[in-house]
């Protein structure tokens, strides 16, 4: 079954790179939605069916940790896996994300292989043509 992915990052450059990388992973992806911050992401989640969220941590308005906390406190969105993609390498923010229920994290800068590896257990591979 094909999945819908939501990419949340205040950088349009990173959203564009992740769109490209996600299409290269060979995973069964139907639609990739985008949001520029946590607030916008909640709007997308309310309007679209989303199977996976890839989110930055440091963002204006609502950051990735606040988005994650909102999702995990919601009966509807609690089950959606959230992978954090961040420059943060310190224990503090990454540890907080894991505590809040993040499915994992990828450090920026990232390679396509690192993204693919992280998503391997979460998304299904695309069926061969």
């Amino acid at each position: 079954m094909e999945s819908n992915v939501l990419v949340v990052d205040d950088s349009a450059a990173i959203r564009k790179i992740l769109q490209r990388v996600l299409r290269q992973t060979g995973m069964a992806i139907h639609t990739i939605h985008e949001a520029g911050d946590g607030q916008e992401a909640l709007g997308v989640l309310g309007a679209q069916k989303v199977d996976l969220v890839l989110s930055d941590i440091n963002m204006p308005k609502m950051d990735g940790l606040q988005l994650l906390a909102s999702m995990k406190s919601s009966a509807i969105w609690r089950q959606i896996p959230v992978v954090m993609i961040t420059t943060e390498g310190g224990e503090t923010k990454v540890g907080e994300a894991v505590k809040l229920g993040a499915a994992g994290y990828v450090r920026k800068p990232f390679t396509a292989d690192q993204i693919k590896e992280k998503l391997a257990g979460i998304l299904e591979p695309a069926l061969p043509l």
Binding site: S11, A13, K16, N58, M59, E88, G90, P109, F110
Partner: protein
């Protein structure tokens, strides 16, 4: 170990890694040098990102408009012939990743640091000034004929508290300032 040596090593490592991974280029690093905080005349694309914690400071990248466009084109696999929103966004994200990497290295020595959202400026003959008193640690990187400058200044937020750490007979500080 001297904090400026740690910053220089970290800028070199982080810039090399970000360029290699996100831009697909091996970039050559020059020798680090110090630069005072007097206002500098600038031209081209300059970005800033703040660091805050027990130590505080600013990280900065600067380059020509041509190099900014080249970085954007290579990073996003698109055409970039003039400095537009997409180019400035690519430079902002590059700053975030490079200085973010330096921040992660520095945290092992100075404790947790927060990173601000980057700001990018593009123009001619403008001056920038950091309100801090510490000199910048500056490194130049070369991509063919183009130069990218990465610099960072960092100082203890509470100088007095740091002096106490240096002089206290019961506590030691790993860093010279």
């Amino acid at each position: 170990m001297n904090v400026n040596s740690i910053i220089a090593e970290s800028i070199s490592r982080s810039t090399g890694q970000v360029f290699s991974t996100m831009v697909g280029v091996e970039i050559g690093a020059g020798r680090p040098f110090g630069e005072n905080t007097a206002p500098q005349a600038n031209e081209g694309v300059v970005s800033f990102i703040g660091l805050a914690g027990a130590w505080a400071g600013t990280g900065s990248l600067s380059c020509s408009p041509e190099l900014a466009c080249r970085i954007c084109a290579q990073m996003l696999l698109c055409e970039a012939t003039a400095v537009n929103e997409e180019v400035l966004d690519a430079v902002a994200e590059l700053t975030n990743m490079i200085i973010g990497g330096v921040k992660n290295d520095l945290e092992q020595h100075v404790g947790p640091l927060g990173l601000s959202i980057p700001t990018v400026v593009y123009g001619r003959n403008f001056r920038t000034k950091s309100a801090g008193n510490t000199d910048w640690v500056v490194m130049r990187f070369q991509w063919d004929e183009e130069i990218l400058v990465v610099k960072l200044c960092l100082e203890p937020k509470e100088q007095a508290a740091h002096v106490f750490l240096h002089t206290s007979p019961t506590q030691s500080c790993a860093l010279d300032v």
